[in-house]
């Protein structure tokens, strides 16, 4: 399931929670871990000068600087690196999302692990030009599952055993289900299939009664059975529920109640530079609030 992990890191505190999960996965599942860091973004037109994303300084990239940064990353993760014997550290320059996608395409990892917002200093204009966060841009385009840890993964004690799959019944959710089901089978997890019925629009619509909502909940349960449970064969340790409310809130609450150590869901946002995208995407809101890792899957994942 996880033989090759790409851990994309800013090598700052912002990625510490992600590092804990990434290295734990590498150790537990005997995976190779690629620690990948984009040290600077290009600047000064065509020149070789980059802005160091950690210090904000303008630096001319050469082998010495590259080696120095590699060594810093090694020291930063020294404690965790000692727990694995199969790792590599790669540093490069470029725009972080683009370089993460580039190396992912070349290395074909089983999963990309990322931290939340880095708050890296970098360059003011670079950040201004980059519409959407690095995560948004990677999650939108990656052909691989992306695991993000934004908050301390309090309910992640090591390994995955209790997985919530939250569906919006989209095509991407079908891909997310295929990945989630493979994962729960291989890792012997409990599997919670969940749908949140969005009732936020009901505030302006008096014709929707509680009966209507109950009908829709029953329909959603039927859909879960039809779309997913029917494909699960004799797999037993599963449960399913549909709650009404604001989708991201319900997903986070449900995961907390089930003490989930992983949420898997679809990533459906297409436009990263739409100002509404960052609040419009359920996945992103879940990532911001969940206290366990979240794997987002777009509709390209699993495509050859």
């Amino acid at each position: 399931m996880f033989k090759k992990i790409l851990f994309a890191t800013s090598a700052t505190e912002a990625c510490d929670h992600a590092a804990r999960v990434a290295f734990d996965m590498a150790r537990r599942y005997h995976a190779h871990i690629d620690v990948f860091h984009v040290l600077g973004v290009p600047t000064r037109g065509y020149s070789q000068v980059v802005v160091d994303l950690t210090t904000g300084d303008e630096v001319t990239l050469d082998d010495n600087y590259r080696d120095l940064v590699k060594e810093e990353i090694r020291s930063y993760y020294d404690h965790q690196i000692q727990t694995t014997d199969d790792f590599a550290i790669t540093v490069t320059i470029g725009h972080p999302h683009r370089e993460i996608l580039r190396i992912a395409r070349a290395e074909k990892p089983d999963i990309i692990v990322m931290g939340g917002s880095t708050g890296a200093s970098g360059s003011y204009a670079h950040k201004k030009a980059a519409t959407g966060s690095t995560f948004q841009r990677v999650a939108k385009a990656a052909h691989f599952p992306v695991l993000v840890i934004n908050r301390p993964a309090a309910s992640f004690w090591g390994g995955f055993s209790n997985v919530v799959f939250a569906t919006d019944f989209s095509d991407a959710a079908d891909h997310a289900f295929a990945f989630a089901f493979k994962l729960v089978k291989e890792l012997n997890c409990e599997f919670h299939l969940f749908h949140a019925l969005d009732i936020t629009c009901f505030q302006t619509d008096n014709f929707h009664t509680q009966d209507t909502i109950d009908d829709q909940i029953r329909n959603a349960i039927a859909q879960i059975r039809f779309r997913y449970v029917s494909k699960m064969g004799d797999f037993k340790p599963y449960a399913m529920e549909v709650w009404e409310g604001i989708p991201f809130v319900e997903i986070v609450k449900y995961a907390r109640e089930k003490q989930a150590d992983l949420i898997i869901m679809a990533y459906n946002t297409r436009q990263t530079d739409d100002p509404e995208a960052s609040i419009g995407s359920v996945a992103e809101q879940v990532i911001l609030r969940a206290n366990c890792p979240v794997i987002s899957i777009n509709r390209s994942v699993g495509k050859e």
Binding site: T43, G45, Y46, S47, V49, D62, R98, A125, R270, R299
Partner: protein
């Protein structure tokens, strides 16, 4: 005194030499060696005799020192109207002096000339518009750069840039395989949203052969994707060459005439090989100048034209919008104050001033477009043209040079600046970095993609 190991008269010819020069962080050793680089005065004078033709000689001798060019130069205005920044003074005290002395100049003189040629002139050619005799200092500075390059007096980054063209036929270390592979990657990323999206490589007889800036391949492949998507939506029969795809020329900025020829011939070879009806280049100003305006002369083409009709991206885009190949959703037009940067290289120097404004008329809600003052062929250089953007040694001067554009933008009140030119885009980005005036800046492609209507038959199945 011998030439330096890094700073010398030899052009970069191999990847190894390129890497050696690159490893000299910031050009420290390079500039140190430049302090004692001897001037080969016989070679300098011989070159002048062979290459300095009547136009430049006449310009130099007929200049009346009237000073009409002074106010036309944004570097003069921004540097407290220093007389040493008057265009006529700048060229007379460098190229003019070299001719008067018959090439007998020393190291200190050449270093002064280098600073004048790369930090006091962006070759924007605005002065030529205001000179009563039509004397174009920008053209003469381009020529002076060639003499300086031949003698080894060239900024470190541009020696590297010219070397890149010699080794990679591109301004950066991007190989032909990288180019086609990156385009294929961009198709992979976008084909679900745009079914049928493809990038035909080396298709013979296509209507359009598209050429790019290597930086798009290296750092901004989204730009390639956007170009492919827009050609796809417009239903164009287009292709990219697997070799000869790089339209830019840092060699032109560097004054490396031989590399200019090598580079542009690689593009012309692709035209001859693929026989497209037209070539369309990306949103880059100097690339257009190098490949379409000056390139034919470097390649010795008697008709002064590239092998096939070659147009700038803005010309293709205006045509696609005019003829309805691309349709804009009126609801999605820009509805905020927006201004436009005129790229010197294809507006002042190639007459495309109305084309970009025609595009504005399609994509901006009436009443929201605000022209800079001055504008069109009278607009000022972005502040980073002619290679200025990338030279570390002259960063301070470059940052000061950005003030003109900053103030022009501020006067419009616009928060969005459309800059269909890589150099201008960089300079405007840098002026926001340096002065934080609260603007955004964009090429045309990403803006168009947000507002273009997708024909029914090209929509993805839901």
């Amino acid at each position: 005194m011998p030439e330096g190991t890094l700073c010398n008269r030899q052009p970069i010819q191999t990847d190894e030499a390129l890497k050696t020069l690159l490893s000299d962080t910031g050009g420290r050793q390079y500039y140190q060696e430049m302090q004692s680089l001897p001037v080969d005065t016989p070679l300098l004078w011989e070159t002048i005799q062979k290459t300095c033709r009547s136009r430049i000689r006449t310009w130099l001798s007929m200049c009346a020192r009237c000073g009409m060019c002074a106010d036309s130069c944004f570097l003069y205005r921004i540097n407290d109207r220093d007389p040493k920044q008057v265009p006529a003074y700048k060229i007379q005290s460098t190229l003019g002096e070299i001719l008067r002395r018959k090439g007998r100049v020393d190291n200190a003189f050449m270093q002064m000339a280098m600073e004048t040629a790369w930090a006091k002139c962006t070759c924007c050619n605005r002065c030529g518009l205001y000179c009563p005799h039509g004397i174009d200092m920008g053209v003469m500075f381009g020529y002076l750069r060639g003499l300086l390059y031949q003698q080894g007096f060239v900024p470190w980054e541009l020696k590297i840039g010219a070397g890149m063209h010699r080794v990679y036929h591109a301004q950066m270390d991007v190989t032909d395989a990288d180019f086609t592979e990156t385009f294929a990657w961009m198709v992979e990323e976008n084909e679900e949203d745009y079914p049928g999206l493809a990038v035909p490589v080396d298709k013979v007889g296509a209507d359009i052969m598209y050429t790019v800036n290597a930086r798009e391949v290296k750092h901004y492949p989204e730009d390639l994707a956007e170009a492919a998507i827009l050609f796809h939506l417009a239903g164009e029969n287009w292709t990219v060459p697997s070799r000869g795809w790089e339209q830019t020329s840092l060699a032109m900025f560097a004054g490396d005439w031989e590399a200019c020829k090598i580079q542009v011939e690689s593009v012309y070879d692709a035209m001859e090989r693929l026989k497209p009806k037209r070539m369309v280049g990306t949103e880059c100003g100097h690339a257009h100048r190098a490949t379409v305006v000056e390139g034919p002369y470097w390649a010795g083409r008697k008709d002064g034209l590239p092998p096939v009709e070659s147009i700038h991206y803005v010309e293709w885009l205006a045509e696609a919008l005019r003829t309805g190949k691309l349709k804009i959703n009126p609801e999605k037009r820009i509805k905020e104050p927006v201004t436009l940067q005129d790229s010197c290289n294809y507006v002042r120097n190639h007459g495309l001033k109305e084309i970009t404004r025609e595009i504005m008329s399609y994509i901006v809600e009436p009443g929201y477009f605000i022209d800079m003052s001055p504008n069109r062929e009278h607009n000022y250089c972005c502040g980073g043209g002619g290679g200025f953007n990338g030279i570390g040694l002259y960063r301070k001067q470059r940052n000061k040079a950005l003030i003109t554009k900053r103030d022009q933008i501020l006067s419009t009140g616009a928060k969005l600046v459309i800059a269909p030119c890589h150099n201008c885009w960089d300079a405007i980005r840098d002026l926001e970095e340096e002065y934080r005036i609260g603007i955004r800046w964009s090429f045309l492609k990403p803006l168009i993609l947000k507002m273009v209507e997708i024909p029914e038959h090209l929509k993805p199945e839901e």
